[in-house]
């Protein structure tokens, strides 16, 4: 199972470790006016750019297939005369490290790591450019990145939700629920879902779509849905009105008569 997963993973992240990717990275660095050194060897110690990279065991197959493991070290030196590739090891720089796979000593004799040491002068600007490049080329959501680094480049201010901690999300969801509960009482668990569009093909749709995604999306959509994701949806799941309070019914019976009660109940249904 792990081997199969690793085999498929190789094809997915192989692109990061291909010559084409490295060439693209060199081009990006050259166009950005960065000074950099390409050095054979594992990444230096430093601040991880990703919250969680893929575990080392995943890389074993990749390495067997001959791919090098590519890392990027954004180095902000305290002393510009210290060689880029030495500053992090000597503790004379702040180093930000990116790699798809977490480096571990057990990979040392199996893999060929290559590290791009990038000279960073304007920290915020350089990290922002690097994050954008990584997010784009690796198809990563912002939430995958280290909060500290998102904060440095100002993304936590621009989009606070991407920097929320798990605890904060728990509190936020609780608050959303409480706000809804305060607006109207919780309906009973027997919705009529009057305006829910039910389709006998609904199950088939999602299965087909998810299958399609997994299988590199070769076939046409089976759902035929033209609706945009951000449009207001029409899937409101309405609960029926709550049952009438017997005390209210009794009051209506007393004040208005039995017919009133009958008509009220019929109307309420």
């Amino acid at each position: 199972m792990v081997a199969e997963s690793a085999r498929q993973f190789c094809h997915q992240i192989g692109s990061m470790n291909s010559e084409a990717f490295r060439e693209g990275l060199r081009r990006f660095l050259a166009e950005g006016g960065y000074a950099w050194v390409e050095h054979s060897g594992p990444p230096p110690p430093g601040v991880k750019i990703l919250k969680t990279a893929h575990p080392p065991r995943i890389a074993e197959r990749l390495c067997e297939e001959g791919f090098p493991l590519v890392y990027i070290a954004a180095v902000r030196r305290r002393n510009p005369t210290t060689p880029l590739e030495e500053a992090c090891h000597r503790g004379e720089a702040i180093c930000y490290i990116y790699g798809d796979v977490e480096w571990a000593p057990e990979l040392e004799h199996r893999c060929r790591p290559v590290t791009f040491y990038v000279d960073v002068k304007e920290e915020k600007k350089a990290l922002e450019a690097l994050l954008l490049y990584i997010a784009k080329t690796r198809s990563l959501p912002w939430v995958a990145f280290n909060r500290e680094i998102l904060r440095i480049v100002g993304l936590c201010d621009a989009a606070p939700n991407i920097c929320l901690t798990e605890e904060a999300v728990v509190k936020k969801v609780e608050a959303m629920r409480k706000q809804l509960a305060a607006q109207r009482p919780e309906p009973p668990k027997s919705p009529t879902a009057e305006d829910v569009e039910t389709s006998p093909d609904a199950t088939a749709n999602v299965t087909a779509e998810a299958d399609d995604t997994a299988e590199t999306q070769k076939t046409e959509s089976k759902s035929g849905a033209a609706a945009g994701i951000d449009r207001p949806h029409t899937h409101k799941l309405h609960a029926p009105a709550a049952r009438l309070d017997p005390a209210v019914l009794e009051l209506v019976r007393r004040c208005c008569g039995e017919e009133c009660v009958t008509r009220l109940l019929a109307c309420h249904e």
Binding site: E102, V143, P191, V206, E209
Partner: protein, 123 residues
């Protein structure tokens, strides 16, 4: 609440956050599901990424999660809710495919789902 942290990888945290929304919101209250329907569907889709290194949506997991949500808040109308959730999930995936194109890697789909998830959480 099952933890999304059982596997590493860059998508582990968004999976955990989707799990929080599902367990603390969508499965707790019909009102929540009703008001934040798209957020719940996005959480289901994100949560359906299986543990492990592969980033791909698994229809059987989508179906199971939808069943769980429908069972938790659906009461007597569970089937209708299940169908609505599945239908919306299908629509979202179709829309994403139109936006991203056939050649986009599956990571791009999950990244887009995550982006939409945070937009809806913000709303």
């Amino acid at each position: 609440m099952s933890s999304g942290k059982t596997h590493g990888g860059p998508f582990a945290e968004v999976r955990t956050l989707a799990d929080i929304v599902l367990e603390s919101g969508c499965k707790k209250s019909l009102q929540f599901l009703n008001t934040h329907f798209d957020l719940c569907v996005l959480a289901i889709l994100i949560k359906s990424i299986p543990a492990g290194s592969m980033v791909r949506l698994r229809p059987e997991i989508v179906r199971r999660l939808v069943e769980e949500v429908a069972a938790a808040v659906g009461g007597g109308d569970r089937e209708r809710i299940r169908n609505a959730l599945l239908k919306r999930a299908g629509e979202m995936m179709a829309q994403l495919r139109r936006e991203l194109g056939d050649s986009a890697p599956s990571e791009a789909y999950v990244a887009k789902l995550a982006e939409l998830f945070f937009m809806k959480l913000e709303a």
